[in-house]
Structures are given as C-alpha cells and as structure tokens.
Amino acid sequence: MKVYLDNAATTGVSKEVLATMLPFFKEEYGNPSSLHEKGINNRKVINHSRQKIAELLHCQKDEIYFTSCGSESTNWAIKGIAAKNNSKSDIITTKIEHHATLESFNYLESLGYTVLFVDVDQAGFVDLNHLRELVSDNTLLVSIIMANNEIGTIQNVKAISEICNEANTYLHLDAVQAVCHTPLNIEELNIDLLSISGHKFHGPKGIGILYIKNKTHIAPLIHGGQQEQKLRAGTENVAFIAGITKALENGISQLDEYTKRLNKYAKHFLEKLDEAKINYLLNGPKIGENRLPGNLNLSFKGIDGPTLQYLLNQRGIYVSTGSACDSQIITPSHVLVAIGVSDEFINNTIRFSIGDFTTPEELDYVLKNLIEIINQEK
C-alpha cells in the first residue's frame, strides 16, 4: 500500500480541476491580450475567475492578482510595500514564518530596514501583548503566517489585525496553508495583503494569488507588461488560473465536512498511539479550531526524524521532517526551535499531514507500521 501523508507539502490535482484546465493546453491556447476570438475567450475566463475568487474570499475582484506561486506572492507583498513606502523603517514578523517571508525580511534588512520579531508561545501563537509593544509610528509592515505549515497553528488574525489597524501599519498574511483548510473572510479580517498558493488545495503547482486591498501603495516585482492592472507582468497562465479557481471553489464548498473528517482522523491517530504506549509529543496546538485539520507534527522519543521518515518510505508511507540542510549538518526545523521543543525531541520529528483523499484504511496501515518501527527502534 502507498500512503501519501505529506499534504502540507503539496496536494494532487483533483480530477475536476484537471478537467477544467485541459482545454487550455489544447484548443484554448490564445493569449488573453490578443484581440481575436481565441484571446478574447481567455480574457473572459480570467475575468470570470477573478470575480469568482473575489466572491469566495469576500473581497473586490480588482483586489485579486494572479502570481506564479505562494512564495512570489509573499515576496511581492513584502518587497512591493517596502519599495513604495519610504517613510517607515520597522518591519515585524515571527520566527515561525515560511522562508519566503524570512528571506524577504533578511533582504530588506540588508537595505536598511529594522526587522523585529514578535514572540510566539509554545503552541506557536503570536504574543499579542508583545506585538502591541513592538508596533509604533515607524512600523511599515507586519507579516504573519496565518496557519503554520509545520505545526498547524492558526493565528487569531482578527486580534492581530486590530493591533495593526490601530497602529496604522500594513498587515500581510501568508495564508498559503490556510486557504481551504480554515475559514477565511478577507472583509471580516480587515487585512491589507494575503498570499495564496494553488497546489495546497488540489490546484496545480505554479499558480498563486496575492490579495492587495484597494488603495494599497505597492510596487510591482515583475516589470514588462500591462497584465494584472500593470502590477504583475507576464502572459497570464489561463489554464492554472481556471484550475486554482475550481480548486478554491471545491475546497471552500466542502470545508465544514473536510474539517470534521480530518480532525476525527487526527484524534483517532493519536488515540491509537496512546493505546500502543508510544512516547510522543504533539507539537503545536491541540486538535481543534486553532490547528490545521489533519496536521500532526509529532516528535517521538528515541528515533530521529530522518531515519523514521526513511523507514516509513521503505514501507510506502510518505511524510516530511521539518529538517533543513545548513552546509554540512542537518539542522532542526526553525519553527520547532522557535517554540522551544526540547533537545530530547527536536530532531525526532515527523509531520504527518492527512489530506482530503486520505482513507481510514490508509491511516490504519500507517499506524500499524509506525508503531512497529518505533518499537523495533527502541
């Protein structure tokens, strides 16, 4: 049996999304900027897609910009705001961000911006009091990961947004892991920028979205064309735009059922580990509304993450560790370091990310093999 439990890394394109995209690789290949039937038809597809996405996310259609991926969206949000706004020099983020944010902040620091890190607690939640202390008249931007890709923490965005609005600072949300996995209403959240990636919810890789609130001062990252209201040059990827729209529509329409189902699976998973007396630590919040459905970031005593990942792979079970390579050593995940996971557990971590296509039979297979391996390695 092959079991894919790495859905936080990427998801497979759904049949419906694939079917939506296929005509644009064959007969519907026109350039949307061309003034002939093939082009005009595709312009219409883009405009309808933008309208649909705006309805699904609760914003205006001219606030939706298509990009190539979540990392581009995040880079554009952060660098684009900095390039257009010169009067403030503090930028704030957390230490549990995706590298797209952290590296963009590093880049801005090299240009003279002051990077401030707001504390997170042991479950990965932003310390709101600390954020209040950090924001000032000199704060240009706050960038926060809405739902953490490793430990699944879903932030209290409304509270963060209120603090940012009081301080009159821009707020960017990295919502790459959040969209279609937790409710998201842009109007209610009152944020300025939001990054999305298609392949995290059964859309294709190579397409992202950046929401930019109207009247936001932002410079383009990619120059050279009139596309996307002159803010993001490049011939539009019509197939993937149609695909991400369909994926978003599907994901949001089934979100309630999906959340209940995956939370049930995750609880079952932990119950079985408890029954087998496995010594593990659940990193991040407890299963429920503040944790991404299906995300189980677990550290096991006595077996290192890469070895466990390797042994699971040998049995057809595909999972992730949060480890990174730093020159000649494998370093623990920066997220786990930031939330203070003990030395005893930090290198022994596996992220199981259950997805929409995961079945109970697959989970039972994983549990059987996981328990067997851990007991063998004791």
Binding site: P306, Q314, S323, C325, I329, K378
Partner: protein
C-alpha cells in the same frame, strides 16, 4: 537502525560506531546521487538519504546470509561502497541486533 557496526582488519578495529556513520566512498555517494536525484552535488540531507539506502542494503545482506559477521571481499557487489582501498582480510560485524 540502532545497531552498531564494527569493521576490523584482523584484530585491528578500523571503525566502530553507528551504522549510519560508516565510512562511504565519496565517489559512490555522487554516483548514487546522480542515479537517485540526478544531482552530482548532493546536499547533506540527500547524502544522509543515500547513506541510509546503502546501509539498508547492508542490513539486508546480514539478514539474507543469516550472519552477523561478513568478509567484505566476499560481497563486493554490495559492500564496495565502504571507504577502504584494500578489502582483503576486512570483516564487518553487526553488533546489537539483526
């Protein structure tokens, strides 16, 4: 992979330690990296994966031969990845499980 490996030439211990840290020829790592990843310059995570692949073959060999001690020269097809120039009279021993 909790087992320990001891590599000896006669009574001299050449290596004793974690099975995942046994000395591997750099050439083999690069060849394997090209075969697995299409990459002649693997990062440490990929090197670590390759080491596990080689060690896994070694463990299978111990199991198949039903022995805890092997002469490397008798199993060069699998064991030539170990980083020694001359395999004559070198034995590899699995300690602490099979």
């Amino acid at each position: 992979m909790k087992e320990k490996i001891v590599i000896k030439k006669f009574d001299t211990v050449l290596y004793s330690g974690n099975i995942l840290n046994i000395p591997i020829k750099e050439k083999v790592i690069i060849e394997k990296s090209i075969a697995l990843f299409g990459d002649e310059d693997p990062c440490i995570i990929h090197i670590s994966f390759i080491a596990k692949e080689l060690v896994s073959d070694l463990l299978k060999l111990f199991k198949e031969t039903n022995s805890n001690s092997l002469k490397i020269i008798d199993h060069l097809a699998i064991l030539s990845f170990i980083d020694f120039d001359d395999f004559s009279n070198i034995t590899i021993e699995l300690v602490g499980g099979k």
